[in-house]
């Protein structure tokens, strides 16, 4: 893994697991966007704690095991879902009354620490196998680095048709190509090279926002009226602003310490040391998640321990800046969380004013999700092929279609990482029975 295990990181993981479990237990914040809207039924006693827990478990357990763990192992940073979906489960498992909240907090903290040591232990265990394939796992994310800048074009196509989408696609390719050729400047003897993928991504995101801002209202907006009845929920979230700020600070600090990453794309870029590009990607994802997180928060009175994910953006930029970077990350994270909570009322009222922005959010999440599905799948094939050039492609392509035909299909996004990891384990088994000799290069 990319993080180091020391007193500070152990403490931060414990704090992260602890506070997220506490927030879920006290019905203040949960990470799964689909769990949040369940809370009004729980508050009105139409749903009991057991059902709330069962729902949380059903929604999240498969994602932790099937998506969180393999993505984290392949990427060498813990993807935030692995810890925060688990703390949703832990928090709702315990009663919210009396001492139970401290049990929930303690179990959450313990989970954070176990995850920290556990992930490292898994990587260490893989390294002592006769064929060490951990070096090839990074290949799973190789397409994300080279091609993720395509997503704004796809989001625009969903929003404004394929002509606009195609135009943005060509624009993105041109920007990347031109920056690669001419993006080097010498200023006072120091060469400054613009990152071509970062520039392409930035231009794409700007184009995406411009298209969204130009969109006219297509139907009578009555969302603001519908949301007016939820003002009590906004007050409830505001009441918990301080603890949410603390959570935002800890999440940001954990990001800066390379313990967690907000999504598969920024995870890969962060792992590669491309922090500026990772921050742009995280910003794009925030644009996508603002409507979803905020609308679900407004209808439920429950927020997310990571807010709209904006806290990750400065946190990524603070990586490798020493103690001041850590302090800066914590403070910025906490402040962003406060601003987000204060803006909830404004968002509820402005719901109809910028219809394009709501669509932009949906389309951004969809486009990112689609690009990740494909990029991680092909990345998984390339990684499996690097591990076993004879059978790698066969294995991952087969796995993809077996998953589609399965009665219990995993997230498509997880097939690449799972395919690469299982390929590595398979070649070791084949090696043991003499079917996969080690080639000395």
């Amino acid at each position: 893994m990319l993080f180091s295990i020391n007193a500070l990181t152990i403490l931060v993981m414990a704090a992260l697991g602890g506070i997220c479990a506490y927030l879920a237990n006290q019905n203040i914040a949960v990470f799964h966007d689909g769990l949040r809207p369940m809370f009004p039924a729980y508050f009105s006693k139409a749903m009991d704690r057991k059902t709330l827990f069962a729902t949380s478990f059903a929604l999240s357990f498969g994602l932790v095991i099937g998506f969180g763990l393999p993505t984290s192992i392949a990427g060498k940073i813990i993807i935030v879902h692995t810890i925060m979906l688990a703390t949703d489960i832990i928090g709702t498992m315990f009663s919210e009354n009396g001492n139970s909240k401290w049990y929930a907090t303690a179990v959450g903290a313990l989970f954070g620490i176990v995850l920290l040591f556990g992930m490292q232990a898994i990587i260490d265990a893989l390294k002592i196998l006769p064929i060490d394939f951990t070096g090839s796992l990074g290949t799973v994310g190789s397409l994300i680095i080279l091609a993720f800048s395509v997503f704004p074009a796809i989001a625009v196509a969903y929003q404004a048709g394929i002509v606009s989408g195609g135009t943005v696609l060509v624009l993105i390719m041109l920007v990347k190509q031109i920056t690669m050729l001419y993006g080097k400047f010498v200023v006072n003897g120091v060469t400054i090279a613009l990152n071509s993928d970062g520039m392409a991504l930035l231009v794409g995101i700007v184009a995406m926002i411009v298209v969204a801002a130009r969109q006219k209202r297509t139907e009578d907006g009555n969302a603001a009226t519908a949301f007016a009845v939820f003002s009590k929920n906004i007050d409830r979230i505001k009441k918990n602003m301080l603890i949410l700020a603390l959570s935002g600070g800890i999440v940001a600090l954990a990001t800066t310490l390379l313990l967690i990453a907000e999504g598969p794309a920024s995870l890969t870029l962060t792992a590669e040391g491309q922090y500026a590009q990772a921050a742009i990607v995280a910003l794009g994802r925030t644009l996508g998640f603002i409507p979803l997180v905020m609308t679900t928060a407004i209808v439920s009175g429950v927020y997310s321990p990571a807010g709209t994910k904006l806290i990750h953006v400065p946190a990524i930029l603070f990586i490798n800046m020493g103690v001041m970077g850590m302090a800066g990350s914590f403070v910025t994270g906490a402040l962003i969380m406060v601003v987000e909570v204060l803006l909830l009322g404004f968002i509820a009222q402005g719901m109809d004013k910028f219809p394009g922005m709501k669509d932009l959010g949906d389309n951004t999440r969809t486009a990112m999700s689609k690009v990740l599905d494909l990029a991680l799948l092909v990345g998984g094939m390339l990684a499996a092929n690097a591990i076993a050039p004879s059978i790698g492609y066969i294995w991952v392509i087969g796995l993809y279609f077996l998953n589609q035909a399965s009665k219990k299909p995993l997230s498509t996004m997880a097939i690449g990482p799972i395919g690469a990891i299982t390929m590595g384990i398979l070649v070791n088994i084949l090696h043991l029975i003499g079917l996969f000799p080690i080639v000395v290069k």
Binding site: P37, F61, L63, G66, A223, V299, K358, T366, P409, T412
Partner: protein, 119 residues
């Protein structure tokens, strides 16, 4: 019969599938998740369909929040698709809003529509 497609992903694909299996008896419209949920709330449409990567978040969240969890069900989530009989009984038990993983659309929509049209 009016069906709205609300939640997030592959809305056009969902609408096409609903039209295909609706046997000419279903009017489909694509809306934002909020507008679609409001259409159910105000009885302007009878059923809500939505898809996303988790089958519960972007797909169904606004329907759960505005229409109420008792009317909503995730037909599939990562790692689990309901059996055909479970899907049919969800429709028979009066569920109105259905969320599922976008990749499962072609598996669950024919069953959902078949049962809905029996009503």
């Amino acid at each position: 019969m009016k069906i709205v497609v609300g939640g997030q992903m592959d809305k056009q694909i969902l609408a096409n599938l609903i039209t295909k299996y609706g046997c000419g008896r279903v009017e489909v419209s694509i809306k934002s998740d909020i507008e679609a949920a409001l259409a159910i709330q105000t009885n302007q449409a009878q059923y809500y369909f939505g898809a996303c990567a988790t089958g519960a978040g972007g797909a169904l969240a606004m329907a759960i929040g505005l229409v109420g969890p008792q009317h909503c069900v995730s037909i599939s989530i990562p790692g689990k698709i309901m059996q055909e009989e479970e899907i049919r009984s969800a429709v028979r038990n009066g569920k109105k809003c259905f969320g599922f993983v976008n990749y499962d659309a072609d598996k669950v929509i024919p069953v959902l529509l078949d049962e809905i049209l029996k009503k």
